[in-house]
């Protein structure tokens, strides 16, 4: 990867990190309601994968999906406005943090039932093949999702039909509060299961955006060539608790410390420095991201709330919600 591209990916990661920090702060100020599942720490997976995809590829994410929405082009403002229940939010304040979606760029949603979106991604890949578009579908999911039935059914169907779909596991070592190792029969919850479907299963440092980009590019090429799906298990760690109410005290301090030192932003910055990119160039990217997010916060704050009548739109394709005639 050349350093210009890396710098762009770095900036995107910073943008995500800062947006999530803003979401966290707004939560504490009472401006974000409901719940949030911050992806701080996971940025390299979304940004690295995205860099390896075509613009028209399909992405399906989980409730922890801010990074995927932004990696695919959602703006910090659209995301924050959604979290702050504004009419200008990505989903017009009807979805919230757990359901960020930007269909116009084929980021086809964030789903809050663990594992449910894996079969959907399979279906999108099937559709791409039926329509002959060469598109790929990618499902991002957590380590915990590997133990639910939908995971199994999705991987088998994708393998049998040899579909262009990638299953990217963000293994952050925990479900909500339970270590994934305590409830999973194999040590690599995703990659160790790939052989059960006769497909490749790879492990990658999910905090290194370059490695992620390379792995996804390779598996995507393969899938597009008609060689079928693959599993990629990206090792990572979340910086915050599971959701806003979780102080994450169940994690050993030493483990947290080790992983905070293995920060995706630091790793990318280190690579930039190694590549000879001047310090000021990097700082300028930081600065740009800071400004964008600051402006996004202000814009979202001053955006209007949704019209209450919006509660009764969008059930049906005709725009309405009538269930009687």
């Amino acid at each position: 990867m050349d350093s210009a591209e890396l710098l762009a990916l770095y900036e995107r990661m910073v943008l995500i990190r800062r947006t999530e920090k803003a979401a966290h702060d707004l939560f504490l100020q009472g401006l974000v309601k409901g719940t949030t599942h911050l992806a701080a720490g996971h940025e390299a997976i979304a940004v690295g994968a995205s860099a390896a995809l075509r613009d028209d590829d399909y992405v399906f994410a989980t409730y922890r999906g801010h990074h995927h929405a932004m990696a695919r082009g959602a703006t910090p403002e659209e995301c924050l406005a959604e979290l702050m229940s504004r009419a200008t939010g990505l989903c017009r304040a009807k979805g919230g943090s757990m359901h960020l979606t930007k269909a116009s760029v084929n980021m086809l949603g964030s789903y809050a039932i663990v594992g449910a979106h894996l079969p959907m991604a399979v279906g999108a890949a099937w559709s791409a093949r039926l329509r002959g578009t060469g598109q790929l579908a990618v499902a991002f999911f957590g380590d915990g999702a590997t133990n639910i039935g939908a995971f199994h059914e999705a991987l088998n169907l994708a393998a049998v039909w040899k579909l262009p779909v990638l299953f990217v596991c963000e293994n952050n070592l925990y479900m909500e509060y339970t270590p994934i190792a305590d409830v999973t029969a194999v040590s690599r919850p995703a990659a160790d299961r790939a052989p059960a479907y006769g497909i490749p299963g790879e492990v990658v440092d999910g905090n290194d955006v370059v490695r992620v980009q390379e792995a996804v590019a390779r598996l995507a090429r393969r899938a597009r060539a008609g060689d079928g799906p693959a599993v990629l298990e990206a090792e990572t760690y979340r910086h915050f608790g599971h959701s806003r109410t979780d102080p994450a005290t169940y994690r050993p301090a030493e483990e947290v410390e080790r992983w905070l030192k293995h920060d995706p932003l630091d790793i990318a910055r280190g690579r930039l420095v190694e590549d000879g990119v001047p310090e000021e160039t990097v700082t300028a990217a930081d600065e740009r991201a800071r400004t964008v997010v600051q402006e996004a916060v202000e814009a979202a704050k001053s955006a209007p709330p949704p019209d209450p009548r919006e509660a009764f739109t969008d059930v049906w394709a005709d725009g309405g919600a009538a269930w009687r005639t």
């Binding site: 399909y58 399906f60 939010g89 990505l90 989903c91 017009r92 304040a93 009807k94 979805g95 359901h99 979606t101 930007k102 269909a103 116009s104 086809l108 949603g109 789903y111 039932i113 449910a116 979106h117 894996l118 079969p119 959907m120 991604a121 399979v122 279906g123 999108a124 890949a125 099937w126 559709s127 791409a128 039926l130 329509r131 579908a137 039935g149 939908a150 059914e153 999705a154 088998n156 169907l157 049998v160 039909w161 739109t313 969008d314 059930v315 049906w316 394709a317 005709d318 725009g319 919600a321 009538a322 269930w323 009687r324 005639t325």
Partner: protein, 336 residues
């Protein structure tokens, strides 16, 4: 299969409900290349109820897909395909098995449009063989249309005649909204008038299948012939029954029911699903509110008993509404 439609246009030979299913799907597959089918054993085998017979021959394996026994993957993949430009028709073999992919029916498919603020459209049909009376026991006999009714965002079709099967299948497949399409196992062998070419029956339009002055019977799917038989018997006693075939539960055609009630002032619902949580309850609650002034008598529901479906015929008859039970209910109201 290719020219079934044409044949039928000038040949009013009756068609079976079973063949009408395949015919209805085939018509839509002919007119719209984005219609594809998936499900267990639906391909060369033609489906375990032979309701997809001929589709694999006519349209080939790229449009008719056999799947593993993976109900979640079937419906989940249908959803993903529907979101990306296809019109999938997924078969869940028995409606009891909807429970195996209920997350998709309850939480994903009916909500994704709303929760994304209208960004995505999910034009899919989930077809399934519904209902009892065949001695298939507790896990293969349920009438589960009421499960779907608990979930806003699903349209629900449950035709009672071959022509309606074809017409409502057209409407369901063309619909940009998700539709659960209940094909009644007990009706598969019944024959009826063939559908005209291009037959489309809009969802949400009930049919008054028998006019009458004394009591309104509202029925669905296999309960329509039961209601009709009851009406014949009641006619002998000079009780004149009007029968409304709801045809779909969502949209629910309450207007037709209230209009009928305006004529008869008496209402009995006939439903196969259990009394507790059955669709008749929702209809009755609309009537008890908006139609209260029209009522001259209590409203009665003849519904499935609140027990699982037993195996033996002699027991199953106790559980599923019969002509006798409908007659008794109507008689008691007429006398009120």
């Amino acid at each position: 299969m290719a020219d079934v439609t044409r044949e039928r246009a000038d040949d009013p030979r009756p068609i079976s409900y079973r063949d009408a299913v395949a015919e209805g799907i085939a018509r839509e597959m002919r007119r719209d290349p984005s219609v594809v089918c998936l499900g267990e054993d639906i391909g060369a085998a033609g489906g375990v109820f032979k309701t997809t017979a001929g589709l694999h021959e006519e349209f080939g394996p790229e449009r008719v897909w056999d799947t593993p026994i993976s109900e979640q993957a079937i419906v989940g993949a249908a959803m993903g395909a529907a979101m990306t430009g296809m019109r999938p028709v997924a078969e869940i073999m028995f409606s009891d098995f909807l429970a195996c992919c209920w997350d998709y029916l309850a939480n994903e498919i009916p909500k994704v449009r709303y929760m994304t603020g209208g960004q995505v459209t999910v034009p899919l049909v989930v077809r399934t063989a519904n209902g009892g009376g065949l001695g298939f026991g507790a896990q293969h006999s349920q009438a589960t249309e009421n499960w779907a009714l608990t979930v806003p965002g699903l349209k629900i079709a449950a035709p009672s005649t071959p022509a309606d099967v074809v017409g409502m299948m057209a409407a369901a497949i063309r619909s940009d909204d998700p539709v659960v399409f209940f094909e009644h196992k007990g009706l598969l062998a019944r024959k009826g008038a063939p559908p005209p070419p291009d037959h489309v029956v809009e969802l949400g339009r009930a049919a008054v299948v028998r006019a009458g002055a004394d009591v309104t019977l509202v029925a669905l799917a296999s309960m329509v012939p039961v209601a009709l038989a009851a009406a014949e018997r009641l006619a002998e006693e000079d009780i004149d029954v009007e029968i409304v075939d709801l045809r779909s539960l969502v949209p629910l055609d309450t207007a037709t029911v209230l209009a009928s009630l305006g004529r008869t002032s008496r209402l009995v619902t006939v439903e196969e699903n259990p009394y507790q949580g059955g669709w008749g309850a929702t209809l009755v609650s609309v009537v008890a509110d908006e139609g209260f002034g029209l009522l001259d008598a209590p409203v009665r529901r003849v519904a499935g008993e609140c027990v699982p479906l037993p195996f033996a015929d002699a027991l199953e008859e106790q559980v599923i509404p019969t002509v006798d039970k409908v007659v008794a209910a109507v008689r008691s109201l007429a006398a009120y």
